[in-house]
Symmetry: C3
């Protein structure tokens, strides 16, 4: 964890951004549901660490967030940051979605990167990235007893898949891992923001 | 994946049947819940791959569906097949349950087979098969914010356990793995269909 | 499993107590939700084995409850014990919470013990113990389509963390593993009972 250089450090910074963003989104959902302070902390931690734990379980390695306290500490920090932000967010509800979008972007490319490092094919990279990216938010919504955000509204998973595809293509064009991941994350974040801003929705099949 | 022979091929065909059946069941539930096209695809894929991923995580191996795109492709195909079937299914709701029953049958015997191959005892084989068989449907129902089907209605888990017991006995009578698994799956499917048809229910404990 | 001595036997007894307690809590919730006998058995087994399976998946080992039928048998026994207790529990609802508290206490210290045995730091020990301790109950509540108990009411997770902290300190003061775990479990159980009895709640953040 300490004494990191170059690539490891860059991915670590990305991961911390994702952890803080998802922790804020988890804490805000807890407040919406009238949970107490511990419920806020738990939902923040589970949302923030859920994506990474799912990724590590799938990749069959010990969950990083359970052996390095730094993730946990930043998740609690994210929950704390959410407290003063609550009044603001209540008046501007799209900020909740923007925070969630940042977590989605970061965890999607970090999950995809694990599959890329193992030399897996494009579909595996997409699935790995998508499950890691949406995992934290899905767990949060299930615990809050809601149908997960990803299943019911504006372009969400498609944003994740689009950015991962960009990341995949860049890596195969010999762009280094970090710029490729950052580019993918920026694409996901912008597509999701655009979808929220202009209310882009996929069509529905009528019963 | 390619260049399979005999046993591997037969189990692969069974698994694909389970994937397509559960994908259709997942997509139909998504339509019932007014999810969009992406929600349909996600619920179909998670339902179809959920059972297998749970089995592989329990058996401590890399989830097959994340390294071989073929499962993902057949899951999407199942979701597509569900679209033209929706009008028909709305008029004949027991067809949803029949599709789900086919997935239950196939994944139960595939999960049990993993435990059988490790020489585990009968109770472990039953638990492994049951968790694999009901895993996809439970994840689907939790994501759709329902109490899982398996917990609330006609003979469902009992059907799974009955077929797995038949499979276990056959294997211990030296019947080869494939016919034993197929026989177990047929038993599960028929017991579940009978339970749906004649509305067999277990008794309830009154409060 | 058999031929255990000393430490293994003591932890095994603790685990069985946790399994029976959580199985009763799962079966009682199933009755509240009008599930049938199979739903009762499944919810009891999943609640009872859920915490241990989560712990084993996180520790990357084969789930003990899937290779040793004894856990499954005691989980069913717990479900059976719940049946005659239902009338009594309906009149004294805090007994449901007391049973749940016993499971929380035992699984928290057993989960923490796995992290302690790996020499992990205090935050990892707390997280490991908390996830193991609340895992069974969270799965039970999600399957019953409720917001998990741990997120919404009296001191619950804090009780778990307090006892794990006591256990951690005792182990680092060279108290043997078993008495340290028992002391931690007693602290968790008493803090939780006190929280139920005097309705201790954490504050909430207002929207």
């Amino acid at each position: 964890m300490f004494g990191l250089h170059g690539i490891e450090l860059a991915f670590f910074v990305l991961e911390i951004i994702g952890v803080v963003a998802f922790a804020m989104a988890g804490a805000l959902r807890a407040v919406e549901r009238d949970m107490d302070l511990f419920g806020m902390a738990v939902l923040a931690v589970i949302t923030a660490l859920g994506g990474g734990i799912i990724r590590d379980l799938l990749a069959q390695r010990f969950p990083a967030s359970l052996s390095h306290p730094v993730y946990f500490i930043f998740a609690l920090l994210g929950a704390l940051l959410a407290v003063p932000a609550i009044g603001f967010i209540t008046r501007h509800p799209s900020w909740f979605k923007a925070t969630d979008a940042l977590g989605l972007a970061v965890f999607s490319v970090l999950g995809a990167n694990v599959a890329l490092a193992q030399g897996l094919n494009i579909i595996s990279v997409l699935l790995f990235g998508l499950l890691t990216g949406i995992g934290g938010g899905v767990v949060r919504d299930v615990l809050a007893n809601d149908v997960p955000l990803v299943l019911r509204q504006e372009i969400y998973g498609i944003a994740s898949l689009t950015g991962i595809a960009v990341q995949y293509v860049l890596v195969h064009l010999h762009v280094p891992l970090i710029p490729a991941a950052v580019a993918g994350a920026v694409v996901i974040f912008l597509v999701r923001l655009a979808a929220i801003r202009w209310n882009w929705n996929l069509p529905r099949v009528r019963r």
